[in-house]
Amino acid sequence: MNSPDMNTIKSPVSAAPTPRVIVREAAAPRPRWQVWLIRPEVVTLVLLVVASIVATRLSPFFADLGFILESSTYYIEFAIVALVLTIVIISGEIDLSPAAQMALSACLFGTAFKAGAPIPVAMGVSLLSGLVMGAFNGVLVTVLRLPSIIVTIGTLILYRGLAQVLAGDKSISGFPGWFVGIDYRMVGIVPVPVLVFIAASILLGLFLGITIYGRQIYQIGTSEIAAIHAGIRVRRIKMGLFIASGLTSSIAGLMVASRLGSVRYDLATGGELTMVLIVMLGGTYIFGGRGSILGTFLAAWLLVIIATGMTVANIAINAQLTVMGLLLIVSIIATNAIYARSQR
């Protein structure tokens, strides 16, 4: 069946080498400015600028940098976890459980505090639980080799459920004054959580951009088999990423506990959507291998401006869900289209 087909295709090529083939080989590389322009981060930056201009026209509040920074504290905790999630997604995996990890580690913190532990010890318990939860995800994915997308849905329910077992439907509060209100501590006009976010962005951006591990993570996400053959310790790196995700989630959980002054099992409910949304808006490729911390950093501010803009425009929080969902879908479609173009 196949051989006659092959012959008919082959014969004209071997008979007369067409000039077309030569033209394709000599195709000029895309100009540098174009290569830069079709990077998804640039699209995020353009959107950020447009959103800022539109928002400033809408309400004079937006011209005030202090106002933006203040209203960003609600999203900044998610944005910090989204930085690590970016790296996880670049490595070709996904973690949908960070929001549940935030809730469980915060509830553990609250329970330990109620049991009489001093705050630093309770914080230690919380951070340790983040390590354990991340490691548990990591074991399921790297040792039992289950797909992370469904495993982390399972652990999402498990962690959130354990938080519910621990805290019931009551909220735990009564933390001492020095612990509460991290979002009101300022360095200049910058609230401390924002400072943490900026510092984490720089550190993780450098980690991903200039260290060997960072480059290896891109390699794993591009082709895991090739990475294994190149001697990259794929499972160890992925394990490390999941643990980092757990640890960061517990830090973010503590920041929420400090901001709210209380913890409940439903803390950060629906946060998985916000985190994935930030990463996708930042132009990280959902199938792995591409993306950057810079994109996620810009996307976090884009989200802050959009969300604050909607609140200023008196759109109810519930109705804002529509916009968030739509944004997520549009941003994956756009990112995919951009990568499809740049691959050509």
Binding site: I150, I157, L158, R160, G161, L277, N318, G325, I332
Partner: protein
């Protein structure tokens, strides 16, 4: 072929054993669990999950996931409830049509976005989970459909029928039977398995992957819409902020326990029904055992993870195969 069918049978037998063991153990601890009254409560608890689980099972068999069914359920329940409230003179079936069709429409959108742009369904439906929930808040004006707005005949469907088994139970098992017929005795049903088993090979065998996948998502949406009406019948109210929230996780738990593989191509109606019954029994047993209801989600999560590990073990040929191929 016979080896494969034996494997299928083994899977379902395993779930049946788990179900029997669970009922036996709970009955030993608390003898009053083993009664027709308990059976009645379980049967009343499962229709909601069972109907949506049939849709989710087909989606999983086609190697996709639908996370948006909780929001679709809420949307359809609100849409139908608003018909009941604003037009009490209209016959009941119009409300049913609105519920099921709005669910189908939302499911169709899921399928279209997933297939048209070749995106991972889990992320797309995570987006529509939020999108549809927002739409339902806008549609309802954040107002609840009160118990006295739900028509009396609909409430009665959750209580009785001419043959003394509540209508919603009959509907749920009828849907399961229809799904079994569709999946095992129709060409499209078999094609769903082919797509899930090997998405690359399916188009080469002449299967039109895109329309079939869209159909699967549409069916999942329509069944979630039907579940929305069952919700209204059983609970007697619809609240935009409560109805269907987190429902997708319960359904995925039931389906995965039922032996449906998340890697596509594997799953049966019988297994899913058993999975739903097991989950329903757990739900009913917790208060009887004196375990706080707060444990429910943690148990569901644990069950999902155990089912995933078992699925992996079965595919790798036992525990040894699971741990032996270390490497990397």
């Amino acid at each position: 072929m016979s080896a494969i069918s034996r494997l299928f049978r083994a899977r379902e037998a395993g779930i049946l054993v788990m179900l029997v063991l669970f009922v036996a153990v709970v009955s030993l601890i608390q003898p009053r669990f083993f009664s027709t009254e308990t059976l009645r409560i379980v049967l009343l608890a499962v229709p909601l999950i069972l109907v949506a689980a049939m849709g989710q099972m087909m989606v999983l068999v086609a190697r996709h996931v639908d996370l948006s069914i909780g929001s679709i359920l809420g949307f359809s329940a609100i849409a139908a409830g608003m018909i009941f409230r604003d037009h009490p003179e209209w016959p009941l079936y119009i409300g049913f049509a609105v519920g099921v069709l709005s669910g189908a429409a939302l499911g169709f959108v899921n399928g279209l976005v997933v297939t048209l742009f070749k995106l991972p369904s889990i992320i797309v439906t995570l987006g529509t989970l939020s999108l549809y929930r927002g739409l339902l808040f806008i549609l309802s004006g954040s107002k609840q459909i009160d118990p006295n707005d739900i028509p009396e005949p609909l409430i009665r469907m959750a209580q009785t029928s001419p043959i003394d088994i509540p209508w919603i139970v009959i509907i749920a098992f009828g849907v399961a039977f229809a799904t079994w017929l569709f999946l095992t005795h129709s060409q499209i049903g078999r094609q769903i398995y082919a797509i899930g088993s090997n998405p690359t090979a399916a188009p080469l065998r002449g299967i039109r992957v895109m329309p079939v996948t869209i159909l699967v998502f549409t069916l999942s949406g329509a069944l979630a819409g039907l579940a929305g009406l069952i919700y209204a019948a059983r609970f007697g109210y619809v609240n935009p902020g409560i109805t269907g929230v987190g429902f997708e996780f319960t359904v995925i738990a039931a389906v995965v326990i039922g032996g449906v593989s998340i890697n596509g191509g594997v799953g049966s109606v019988l297994g899913t029904v058993l999975g739903v019954l097991l989950l329903g029994s757990v739900q009913v047993a917790l208060p009887i055992l004196g375990v706080s209801g707060f444990w429910q989600n943690a148990i569901y999560g644990g069950i999902i993870l155990i089912a995933l590990v078992i699925d992996r073990t079965v595919r790798q040929g036992g525990l040894r195969g699971l741990l032996a191929r270390g490497g990397a």
